[in-house]
Symmetry: C2
Subunit: 398 residues, 2 copies
């Protein structure tokens, strides 16, 4: 018997959803709102999402397939498989000059998942979390879902790059501040903390008993050195710090959903437990592919970063043609966060760019009120596509 | 320069972790505690975990590999890929006789992930969640992490099976009860709600404005009909209900981490958002394998369930030999939850079973105080292994 689900009558709608009011107030993606304006059109040049244009390289794909052939289809340990944790510990040790071992590493189902798990470990409702803005919207969203108050400190755009006034960051920390949430290299701005700034922040956090969650998923996408300055160079075993990383950006593995947390060893047990209650574990065959990516992927990372750098430089130069346009130099990540004088409504501007010019960009307002008047463009794309995109965008930038 | 991370001195330890006290109080798996007692031993017969002994069947593996060959390695939509949502909607429609469409379905990274997402949508700190006991420990753990109070109503063991006194369930609901959390078919007991009981519960929940989260991951592991009674047969578009399902158990895909939520369509947007902030999406190639599993997997499900049934019947008959042992008949899931007269400390009993008899069982206390004096045994194993396991266990059951 096929019964049609009883239709909701107009009398019921619109009415507020019976879900938590707090989550209904977390905004849906404004990038998606722009993307929806282009649905069904095949001709749009997509610079709106934070995703490179290349699929995962063959040697990583083959590792995943080999693990499937070996029938790696059972549950795996909550902290991740030991060979992957050891591979990552060796990678972190080599990159940052401190001795990490497998007990410093917990595998997560993406950087996103790691950020949720990290926050669940730390944040009680009513705690304040201090972060920078403009910001990738998912960072404050996680805190809001868990009932935290999010306090933002604006980054400042200068010719030579974005910067953070540490005095303002520290002044924003009050009695109920539980955590500093720092995403460097930064989405959407490419802002990067220096080693000296990280030391100052760590000293402040130690003195005040404040946690640090460092989102370092763009650690390897940096154009003037092998890796961005990292809290992993400075942390001690008794610090209260969780560093989030991901295979997505540097190894072109966005779709695999694999990340990790680097932490003092005393937190291993709690992190392991929280991974269990969120996802249990990422697939074993995905973790096997992760081992190959990290062990054999350095040449790929180097080529990829060179390509991004060229794309970023090209777009930077081209955008200098337009007097209304201002963007700082960036040395990291794969975005330009661009101010356009005269644009008061970045959502309207982005939608017009899609509708009239066939170029997908992310509206600045998607990254918080501090982003209004801007747009974000992902330059992890082929030179040909970037050329065509700037040509098309030109009439709306003049 | 390789600097050894500063070792934590004895002066610092033991001290309470600076993480949320609430999460440090969520118990670690007591099944793992028993498993640790057997670490390094190859001879242990593993009946402790809720995992079938067979790898994922070839036709599903091939679908995953084909998607990797097609370079399905990019981000996917937060609600899941539309072809999988449509496939599942058709499957649910066929099984339960109501017209579901893709907007009733959201894809999650496992049943576990779906349970966390569902709870995040509903539970504010201080809310009460009413559930049954003994219970899979992850169900209350999620609620505790989110700050809810968990109220348990004991299931009762009878010759013909476990049962729930609905009067007690309803009496346990107070003014701050936000949600009924019901896992039927049940881990660890095999208890199953009847259709009439589900209707009564739904009527009660409607009248009282209480949510239902139905964990139905064992829906297809049922021995006397094609699927267990499901809230999916009864729900309307204006109910407050989220039904959690998973590919793990019926399609032998535990390691793939793929599940789904069936919900009234008005909740799609919020669920989609919460998946984004927890995991973004499961891998595309995993979702492609899921399409093949559900579309082409009915023969496999039927064979698998017949095998489990035979295993369950065999163990049930064998355990009748022991006068100290009592277990109800089960018609669903793949566990026996066994009482052994004279066993006051189920943890000690399970550790002895590992150490002295080489059989891995889960201690009843792992499923809450209501489970003390019991053990759980997973019978989703080959006949040969089950025979050997009962032979070995016999001296401790006499």
């Amino acid at each position: 018997m096929n019964v049609v689900l009883r239709e909701v009558t107009d009398a019921h709608f619109p009415h507020p959803l019976p879900m938590r009011e707090r989550i209904t107030r977390v905004p849906q993606s404004k990038i998606r709102e722009v993307a929806n304006a282009g649905i069904g059109r095949k001709d749009i040049l997509p610079l709106w999402f934070g995703e490179p244009d290349m699929p995962t390289p063959d040697f990583i794909i083959e590792a995943g397939k080999a693990a499937l052939d070996a029938r790696d289809t059972f549950y795996q340990p909550n902290a991740g498989i030991r060979p992957l944790r050891e591979t990552i510990a060796a990678y972190m040790t080599g990159l940052y000059g401190q001795d990490f071992d497998a007990d410093n590493i917990v595998i997560s189902g993406s950087g996103m998942n790691a950020l949720m798990v990290a926050a669940q470990c730390i944040i009680e409702p009513g705690d304040a979390v201090v972060t920078t803005a403009p910001s990738w919207p998912n960072l404050p969203a996680v805190q809001q879902i868990l009932g935290a108050e999010v306090v933002t400190v604006p980054l400042e755009a200068q010719e030579k790059g974005w910067r953070l006034d540490l005095g303002r960051l520290f002044a924003a920390c009050g009695a109920n501040t539980r955590c500093l949430l720092l995403n460097s290299p930064n989405n959407p701005t490419g802002w990067m903390l220096t080693r000296e700034e990280q030391q100052e922040i760590l000293d402040f956090a130690r003195a005040r008993g404040i946690w640090i969650i460092a989102d370092e998923v763009y650690a390897r996408i940096v154009f003037d050195r092998p890796a961005a300055p990292s809290f992993a160079e400075l942390m001690n075993e008794d610090d209260n710090i969780l560093i989030v990383n991901s295979l997505s950006k540097s190894w072109a593995m966005t779709g695999w959903r694999l990340g990790w947390i680097t932490a003092p060893r005393r937190f291993l047990g709690e992190l392991e437990k929280m991974i269990e209650f969120n996802i249990a574990c990422p697939p074993g065959f995905v973790q096997q592919a992760g081992i190959t990516a990290i062990r054999d992927g350095e040449d790929f990372v180097a080529e990829t970063v060179a390509r991004y750098r060229a794309g970023g430089d090209y777009v930077y130069e081209r955008l200098q043609e337009f007097p209304r346009v201002f963007l700082p130099k960036v040395n990291a990540a794969f975005y330009h966060f661009v101010r356009v004088d005269g644009v008061a409504d970045s959502m309207d501007f982005a939608k017009r760019m899609v509708a009239e010019r066939g170029v997908g960009i992310a509206p600045g307002i998607a990254f918080g009120p501090e982003g209004e008047g801007h747009f974000r463009l992902c330059f992890a794309q082929s030179r040909g596509l970037l050329e065509q995109a700037i040509d098309r965008m030109a009439p709306l930038l003049r």
